[in-house]
């Protein structure tokens, strides 16, 4: 007979694991990736593959040669970072090498330097993206225009995103809510289609990996705040529906702000976090230098997450 195992109770486990969570997040990102490939063609696929491969490779190299710890690349967290990083850059040929630098910053600086998965204060993909945005402003804001479905051409026409165009003066002609909802607009690789992102978010909610708190408060705050501004002056400020459908709000609210590691744990804290993200996004979009503010907003809120965790305790059973 075997030796008996001895441990304290409990003796069963829910079978939930970090690995399962991460791979489910990856699965939830697939619809948005498919839409990106449909609109931006082979470029989108290549940028994504390069981003994911370099993230995984950097993580493996750092764990093997610098930290000298067992490799954790199988847990899928580097793949999530890679995909999210790819989703946050334009699907252009230039990006195929720039994104490698982004991956190094995301994995090396934002994640492994703090001790690896679970210890990073900031979302690695956002740090990577912001690093690229500041270092390569031209390449990072050269957006491929959406052509027909499945373009196989590497040299697609470029143009501004709806947000960029609005910052310059007015929305481009003929961009409808439906276009924005389906993703038939310019923008970063994975952020264009609201419907694909919502599909992924619904899957995550069903699997209980995220809850509604952060996405709903994030998008809701952005909607209400921009709505107030729009009612005050429809000429200067974008209308609220377009605001939440364009740019990175959907992607940010559903996948980046809900990152378990960098968001608050208590429900009340998550509401504050989502509210802060939405508010900062609209402030940056309307009065900041950049046309898009989602990643800065999330990064800023990431930095106050430990404080929120300290204030927002779960309600105790009995005091």
């Amino acid at each position: 007979m075997n030796l008996l195992n001895i441990s304290g109770s409990p003796h069963v486990h829910s079978d939930e694991s970090t690995k399962k969570i991460m791979w489910r997040v990856n699965a939830a990102l697939v619809p948005a990736l498919l839409v990106a490939i449909a609109y931006f063609g082979i470029n989108a696929l290549l940028v994504s593959i390069i981003a994911v491969a370099s993230c995984v490779l950097f993580q493996w190299l750092i764990e093997k040669f610098i930290l000298k710890v067992p490799s954790t690349i199988c847990d899928g967290s580097a793949v999530v970072t890679g995909l999210l990083l790819a989703f946050n850059v334009p699907a252009t040929v230039d990006m195929m090498w720039i994104v490698v630098i982004g991956a190094l910053v995301a994995i090396g600086v934002a994640k492994m330097a703090f001790g690896g998965l679970g210890k990073n204060p900031f979302n690695p993909a956002i740090v990577g993206r912001i690093f690229l945005l500041i270092s390569f402003p031209v390449q990072m804001t050269t957006w491929p225009q959406v052509g027909g479905l499945f373009p196989m051409d590497f040299d697609v026409a470029t143009g501004a995103t709806p947000l960029g165009a609005f910052k310059e003066g007015a929305l481009p002609e003929g961009v409808t809510f439906l276009d924005a909802f389906l993703g038939h607009i310019g923008g970063s690789l994975g952020e264009v289609s609201a419907i694909a992102i919502l599909l992924g978010a619904a899957y995550l909610c069903w699997k209980k990996i995220i809850t509604w708190h952060i996405p709903v408060t994030f998008i809701g705050t952005a909607f209400i705040f921009s709505g107030i501004l729009w009612l005050v002056d429809p000429e200067t400020y974008m209308d609220p529906v377009m605001t939440i459908l364009t740019g990175g709000i959907m992607l940010g609210a559903c996948f980046m702000a809900t990152d378990m590691v960098t968001s608050p744990m208590a429900k009340s804290g998550q509401l504050i976090f989502g509210f802060g993200c939405g508010l900062l996004t609209i402030i940056i979009r309307n009065w900041g230098a950049y046309p898009e503010g989602v990643s800065f907003a999330i990064l800023l809120m990431n930095s106050v997450t430990p404080l929120i965790n300290r204030w927002c305790k779960p309600q105790r059973f009995a005091c």
Binding site: I6, P10, H13, M260
Partner: protein, 442 residues
Amino acid sequence: MKTFKMGGVHPEENKISNDAAIEVMPVPAQMVVLMNQHLGAPATPVVQKGDKVKVGQLIGEAQAFMCANVHSPVSGTVAKVEPCKDAFGLAKPAVYINVEGDEWMETIDRTPDIKRECTLEPKQIVDKLKEMGIVGLGGATFPAHIKYNVPEGKKAEYLIINAAECEPYLTSDYRVMMEHAEEVCIGVSILRKALGVPNAYIGIESNKPLAIAKMQEMAKQFEGIIVEPLKVKYPQGAEKQLINAVTGRKVPSGKLPIDVGCVVSNLGTAFAVYEAIQKNKPLIENILTVTGKKLPSQHNYIVRIGTTYNDIIKHSIGELPATTGKVISGGTMMGKAVVNLDAPTVKGNSSVLVMDENEARRNPETACIRCGKCMHACPMGLEPYLFSALVRNGRIEEAKEHNILDCIECGCCFFSCPANKPLTDEIRLGKNKVRAMMAAKK
């Protein structure tokens, strides 16, 4: 349907021994009766080597306040009085008895008739509970005569009988309800009388519809017994959670159920109370489940307390399967892993649960990803991840400030942790350290 509000998990129920009727386990040739089968100080042996004892005879007397009498579960000769290793390998004072025949004390009523009338006064009931060595059979083995002796200035308003059996695998309470519903109801009535409360509530999880129907049918014949179906959620049967589910009241931190006017007893205790009060039978038998996914058969037994784990295994399934990984006394969430199968069973043992090696092994621990699942699963609204970090870094004072002592050790945090961190273990360690720190300060 009533339930507690906060946290909780739903482990696989695995009530595979549900349909196995209660059998009687034969008496082994030698019996070892431990002297501390209850919470508190061990009983003092009152027999010596060579003494003849009968079934139900007092062999260990409660001399300390927090203590319970121990009676002989068999008849025969006392072989020796010396320590015996319990299920965890630790030596405990014990009485060894060589079994000869099966001669019971004359006072014990062994007829199958059911006696409904109880003429004893509340004080007499409590005294008899003490005499018969009744303890809570829900796991904590708290001496019943202390629980039912409501202290001055406090008043019991609710009697709650825990028949939730929210632990996976366990079915002994279910079988008792199915086979001894009337006796249980009489036992509950007696306890109700002892406390002087108008109503007794029997909380049963709704995954036992047959038992609910049976108990509701039986309760109609009794005054003031209300059967309360509860939502299937672990830890529905935890004392504080059960009070919250049934009455809506919350036991404050560091207080006892009696402080909010509640007394909670296990269903098995109610049955034992019936036998003790009406039949003069001391607590000498356990009803326990022998179960496990890989076992050839599932059983529920009446076992004389003191029968060893090996005897039970031998009689029920012959021998443990070759792939056995763990033997647990109790349920999978709060039961204890047994290391010494030669050890005798004690009061309050509710199962011999055999887990397969794949089921029994914990997965390797990975990094905490701050998902907060432990916090949302915690039925006490605590922060297990925080305790883990504080205890690991020796910040015991802070752990206390974050109310680590409120933890009921239900195991929901470890159960739900995707990183497989041994959170419950760490919290237990932390609680021990906090208590040591507080004792040192005094």
